[in-house]
């Protein structure tokens, strides 16, 4: 009796549809497709070949959430690209858009006022903490620790609400614009920020107790996904992954932008290079971000309020715009900005998101839409870890490595 599957291949020659070719694998190997419809894969597929319980080959198959960000960027006005690029990493909205804005400012040859710089850095650090907590939560649930998942996602709410207080939106704030920021800090923000920082420091101690120093979790993370310093440099990984392997590289430190050359903070670097070190890097970075938030809030409080936007735009604003700013602290977007033409030129800018360095290259031909926007996102650079670090580990180590490098498919696929 022959079994026919509806819609399936009937003869062997029908199997030659692209992507469905029959591939030969070595004897005694077992090929498992993890994803894209899998609770532990995210928006991607990892094809692993296992010998017993040991992975001998891993093949990350990316691109399931490719949204043509770069191409869409070429058909929209400059300012409309900001809400678009935010969608790469929703929890990290300010960090992924600031370098784009920096590139535009380079072409326009303007320098935002100091207050705007501090405001942007403030939101960047709030976003960084939120993104790290998000990553922590996913990491926790990947290795079976549901309490870490729930705690991290609940505490992320504190940061999201702080961002809402500052910008008016919980996520996708569209906060930085060429020449400044969209809104000034509300009156009661400093107290809320300091309270959140105190709360977060207390919670980090609890995280250490239940997750990082938990013997079961430590056994799962220690020595897993070890990336030596040399290999990390060769693979070109960025962000916490590189810093956990002993590479002191951080765009905020190596190429300071906005207020980062004025505030005092450290770059936590660990030498171990395993999943545990990557988790610790995130914890230490959250602590440093809290320091930056407090310093930024102090600075903003001690300096008089002014419109956080460059005079080139502010001077042209009608009186109503100024009235709105005095009343609500909100910088009403100038209509001219929406169709703003940017002089011909090329610019390159980089910034540090929670997951690593993001790079923008913007080319303008003098039109109101960019000629080319090239984005290199940190997750795309870290995805190579799957190919070169996963083999040799056990199947149950795959989620540990995945969670520890905090790979975020929407950001990598752009």
């Amino acid at each position: 009796m022959s079994v026919s599957v509806i819609g399936g291949p009937k003869r062997e020659s029908d199997l030659k549809i692209p992507g469905t070719e029959v591939r030969k694998i070595e004897k005694d190997l077992y090929e498992v497709f993890i994803g894209p419809q899998h609770p532990g894969s995210g928006h991607m597929r990892i094809i692993i070949r296992v010998d017993g319980d040991v992975i001998v080959e891993a093949d990350p198959d990316m691109g399931y959430v490719h949204r043509t960000m770069e191409k869409l960027g070429e058909i929209r006005q400059y300012i409309k690209n900001i809400p678009l690029f935010e969608r790469m990493a929703i929890q990290d909205a300010c960090n992924v858009t600031v370098p784009y804005v920096l590139a535009l400012e380079k072409i326009l040859d303007i320098e935002p006022p100091q207050r705007a710089k501090y405001l942007r850095s403030l939101l960047c650090e709030i976003n960084r903490i939120a993104a790290h907590l998000y990553g922590f939560g996913i990491f926790g649930v990947f290795i079976g620790h549901s309490t870490m998942y729930m705690w991290a996602f609940a505490d992320r709410e504190v940061m999201v609400e702080l961002a809402e207080k500052l910008t008016g939106a919980r996520l996708t704030h569209s906060y930085p614009i060429p020449g400044g920021a969209r809104r000034d800090m509300p009156q009661d923000f400093p107290q809320a920020a300091r309270k959140a920082a105190r709360y977060m420091r207390r919670r980090l101690e609890e995280y250490r107790k239940i997750f990082l120093d938990n013997p079961v979790m430590k056994a799962r993370m220690e020595g897993v996904g070890y990336i030596p310093k040399k290999l990390a440099a060769e693979l070109g990984v960025v962000g916490p992954v590189a810093r956990a392997s002993g590479i002191k590289y951080d765009a905020r430190y190596n190429d300071p932008y906005d207020a980062y050359d004025e505030v005092d903070f450290e770059i936590p670097v660990f030498e171990e290079g395993d999943a545990l070190a990557r988790a610790w890097v995130k914890v230490e970075e959250i602590k440093q971000s809290l320091r930056i938030i407090e310093q930024a809030v102090d600075w903003l409080e001690s300096h008089t309020s002014e419109a956080p936007i460059h005079d080139k735009f502010w001077a042209k604003s009608p009186p109503l715009w100024k009235k709105v700013f005095e009343k609500e602290g909100r910088v009403k977007l100038l209509p001219m900005m929406a169709t703003m033409k940017i002089p011909p030129g090329k610019a390159f800018a980089r910034g540090e998101t929670a997951r690593g360095e993001i790079v923008y290259y913007v080319e303008s031909t003098g039109d109101s839409i960019p000629y080319r926007v090239r984005i290199v996102s940190p997750s795309a650079r870290n995805a190579i870890v799957f190919k070169y670090v996963v083999p040799g580990h056990r199947v149950m180590d795959l989620p540990t490595i995945y969670g520890s490098i905090d790979y975020f498919p929407p950001e990598a696929d752009r």
């Binding site: 077992y30 926790g140 620790h145 870490m148 799962r220």
Partner: protein, 341 residues
């Protein structure tokens, strides 16, 4: 004989009472309550509310009944590629076998109320408990799915690791009392002290073995969601999936009853007296309450631990818990030699 007496004689006819009343109805009730407790306790640790929407006054308890009904009436999808006969029968047999040990565990010392009077009840209970995992492996194998097969193989690895530990550590009680009969074991505990105090190492080993056998955290490895989706149960749906998931809890309850009788003194503070009420019902309630407390401890571990890696769990079982079980057995023999029990 009045109607009540007739009913009582039917309900408390030992095979019916232990197999139907305790084995099915109480077990189902305990599983539902323990699932609710697990959700609520985990939610409390994780600073959430847990089940709430269905009857907030009952703290969301009927939510579990709703879940049960959903499983009961959901369509059972049987893929074409599976081995139909085994696919359907494996979870059913596994569930039945996982609650069957309750049938041979006595709940009282009165001979009239033993379902099957025998001198080897410890051995028989342990023997029955070792059969059900085979059907989980079979369920995984019959599913013809890569994740199911990996899950089934993991289950098989775990079986080899915990089975010997469970048997050895529970038999240490027999070694101490020189008897395979649960009645003698409980009587010995009533004369001296509970075996959890006399032989804590064996109890710890047995506790860990039960945790491993029922996929409790931190040993929730065969069903580990992030690599093997739902392990051996990936292809299951509807009531068959519910049976698979419930079987682990039912097995945990059966094991908890064995542990309660073997280590926690059985019906200990109570001396079974005359009549059904004092001779059968109350002692059995004491045993069930002790088993329930054990179940709560098992459930609470979910909110504290993640899961071990497979090789770490096996290593821990063979290198740490197995020697523990051997030491526990040795302690049992020494106690018997010294005449402590």
């Amino acid at each position: 004989m009045s109607l009540v007496e007739v009913l009582a004689s039917i309900v408390f006819y030992p095979p019916i009472y232990q197999l139907v009343i305790v084995g099915l109805i109480v077990t189902l009730g305990v599983v539902i309550i323990i699932l609710w407790f697990e959700r609520k306790a985990t939610a409390r640790v994780q600073r959430r509310l847990g089940p709430y929407h269905v009857a907030p006054k009952l703290a969301g308890m009927p939510q579990l009944l709703a879940d049960l009904l959903r499983y009961a009436f959901q369509e059972i999808i049987i893929p074409r590629t599976v081995d139909r006969g085994v696919f359907i029968t494996a979870p059913i047999i596994a569930t039945v076998l996982s609650i069957l040990p309750i049938a041979v565990v006595p709940f009282t010392s009165i001979p009239d109320y033993w379902p099957i009077p025998m001198d080897y009840s410890v051995l028989v209970a342990l023997a029955i408990s070792t059969v059900s995992p085979i059907f989980l492996v079979l369920a995984g194998w019959a599913s013809n799915n890569k994740f199911s097969i990996i899950g089934g193989v993991r289950e098989a690895f775990i079986i080899t690791a915990y089975e010997l530990i469970a048997i050895l550590s529970i038999l240490s009680v027999s070694a101490a009392t020189l008897s395979f009969n649960f009645i003698d074991i409980v009587n010995a505990q009533m004369n001296t002290a509970w075996f959890i105090i006399l032989n804590p190492i064996a109890f710890m080993a047995a506790f860990l073995a039960v945790l491993m056998s029922t996929s409790g955290f931190p040993f929730e490895i065969p069903e580990s969601e992030n690599e093997v989706v739902a392990g051996p149960f990936t292809e299951y749906s509807g009531i068959l999936y519910g049976l698979n998931m419930g079987a682990a809890y039912m097995k945990r309850f059966a094991f908890s009853i064995i542990l309660a009788v073997a280590f926690l003194g059985g019906w200990s503070p109570l001396t079974p007296g005359e009549g059904i009420l004092y001779g059968y019902l109350l002692p059995s309630i004491v045993v069930i309450i002790k088993a329930f407390i054990l179940m709560m401890v098992f459930s609470f571990l979910r909110s504290v631990y993640g899961r071990y890696r497979l090789d770490q769990a096996l290593q821990g079982a063979w290198r740490l818990v197995f020697p523990m079980a051997l030491i526990g057995f040795g302690i049992g023999i020494i106690e018997a030699y010294l005449g402590l029990t």
